[in-house]
């Protein structure tokens, strides 16, 4: 919403006064809400210096750093694998061979429909029961359960995103490539996929933000990533005989929000850059990764700009 909105007039003298009154009232209401939370935090002693002094402890900081690195490691591996899987599944779903197409479609629909947490949990149990046969030790079952779970779920979503991108490439591109005598594989790898990736890059990155957020599900299968580390420390480190949930949650929350905002900013930047370019097909809008997690919509969900539907 920029400058003058269509939803209300440019305020006249009376409306200006009224708006000012509402501004004060609204401001007070927001302040009251924040004030209430701060007051309660203060009343329960969350702002006492000793509670925050724990972050001066080198061990605590090392633990947070290790947790953060573990989270990033899971994210990096899962992101790469999910993109690879996404490309494979998208190509499989567009294949000319029926069994391949059915297999890819079934895989995508199944793993998009099941909550990620349940997928991760089931893989974890499977890995735990077969840990000796697979030669996994320590926290490797958790790590691989998280990575594989994130990969199959996000790979399925990325496949749908890519498929929407491939469908958005003008038909003439494919026909021209075939007319030049290219094989099916060549058309896919040198003509369609590069253009699809370029068009869908903002959506792909938005889905990577979801991947990053979902690494926190490792908490539930007791994998020592950032969130679990923080939770563990907050129950173990007692100040004045009380746990330290609030400081730890504020710190880890800020870290997560900062990481996700950085990635989203990248997506928005690419989208804006893509819109400036006059060549090639349009770049999809960033954001709305949630529409890409739809389980059943077979039509490309995230690629339709909001104003194109009308």
């Amino acid at each position: 919403m920029s400058g003058a909105s269509v939803l209300y007039d440019v305020p006249g003298p009376k409306a200006k006064v009224r708006n000012r009154v509402y501004t004060v009232l609204g401001g007070l209401a927001v302040l009251a809400l924040i004030g209430f939370v701060v007051m309660r935090l203060n009343a329960t002693g969350q702002f006492e210096p000793e509670r925050w002094d724990i972050f001066n402890n080198a061990g605590v900081r090392t633990n947070i750093r290790n947790g953060l690195l573990t989270t990033l490691e899971v994210f990096a591996v899962a992101a790469v694998l999910s993109l690879v899987l996404g490309i494979l599944l998208a190509v499989g779903r567009l294949s000319d061979h029926k069994p391949v197409r059915w297999l890819a479609t079934g895989f995508i629909e199944l793993f998009r429909a099941v909550p990620l947490l349940i997928t991760i949990y089931v893989i974890w149990v499977l890995l735990l029961t077969n840990r000796d046969a697979l030669g996994l030790s320590g926290d490797q079952p958790q790590f691989w359960a998280l990575v594989i779970g994130l990969t199959v779920y996000n790979g399925s979503v990325q496949a749908e995103v890519l498929r929407a991108g491939i469908d958005s490439v003008p038909k003439g591109q494919r026909e021209a490539a075939y007319a030049l005598g290219m094989s099916k594989t060549q058309v896919m790898t040198t003509v369609l996929i590069p253009q699809a990736v370029r068009a869908m890059l903002p959506t792909i990155i938005s889905q990577l933000v979801v991947t990053l957020k979902d690494t926190s599900l490792g908490y539930i299968i007791t994998f020592e990533e950032l969130l679990y580390t923080a939770r563990l420390m907050s129950t173990n480190i007692l100040v004045n005989g009380e746990d330290t949930y609030v400081p730890f949650i504020i710190v880890t929350g800020s870290i997560y929000v900062a990481m996700c905002l950085a990635l989203s900013a990248l997506a928005n930047w690419i989208e804006r850059r893509g819109r400036r370019a006059k060549t090639g097909i349009g770049v999809a809008a960033a954001g709305e990764p949630v529409t890409a997690t739809d389980a059943l919509e077979t039509a490309p969900p995230a690629d339709v700009p909001a104003d194109a539907k009308d």
């Binding site: 909105s5 939803l7 209300y8 609204g26 349940i118 957020k213 389980a295 909001a306």
Partner: protein
């Protein structure tokens, strides 16, 4: 097969639990989401800022972290004595409200400019314009993304199960702890989720057809 037949009551409880928490948080998300979308387009700067902060913060926080806050910080700091179901409902509802808000806001932007202009020239105030003219017309474009948001909400409700709310994930965990084959449990739970998500998308498709009047 036997796994399910032997534990039909637990499975039913889990299924109903998932339904209950999804429905309850969907209501919260819808009400809050529309309200905050209204804030974000309003002429009052503090409310606009509040809406923007709300959406940015909630969209970029992992849901698991929100659940941690709801389950451990809220009882300690704000309100004592809320049941886990209520807390999970609040966490899920608040999280989803930020997505609903964005869907509604982009829906508002798709209503042709002339509509709001006509309303203004009739002398309608901001809230009248929004309530009587723009939002009813935005509903139609908001329905498809809303359907995906509620499906995502259904799937996210599984996290509540890890925080001692009775629902399908809790059921899967219970049976797996008792040593049943995990693959069968997985299939049954997946089927249950499919039923719910199909129902949601079917209901929304019906709504869309009802609302799909030619403009």
């Amino acid at each position: 097969m036997n796994v399910l037949l032997d534990h039909l009551p637990a499975f039913r409880d889990g299924f109903l639990g998932t339904l209950a928490i999804t429905a309850a948080s969907a209501v919260i998300a819808l009400v809050l989401g529309v309200l905050i979308a209204g804030f974000r387009v309003s002429p009052i700067p503090p409310l606009r800022a509040f809406g923007t902060a709300w959406v940015t913060l909630l969209r970029n926080t992992p849901l698991t972290l929100l659940f941690l806050i709801a389950m451990f910080v809220v009882p300690q700091v704000l309100f004592k004595g809320l049941s886990p179901f209520m807390l999970a409902m609040l966490a899920l509802g608040f999280y989803t409200s930020s997505f609903v808000c964005e869907a509604v806001r982009s829906g508002i932007n798709t209503v042709p400019l002339g509509q709001a202009e006509a309303a203004r020239s009739l002398g309608m105030t901001f809230s009248q314009t929004l309530r009587l003219i723009v939002l009813p017309q935005a509903t139609r474009t908001v329905l498809p993304p809303l359907s995906s948001i509620f499906i995502a909400l259904t799937k996210n409700s599984a996290i509540a199960g890890a925080f001692s709310v009775t629902e399908l994930f809790g059921f899967a965990k219970l049976l797996s702890d008792q040593g049943y084959a995990i693959a069968w449990i997985f299939l049954w739970v997946a089927l249950a989720y499919l039923v719910i998500t199909f129902a949601i998308s079917g209901a929304f498709r019906l709504l869309e057809r009802r609302m799909g009047v030619a403009r």
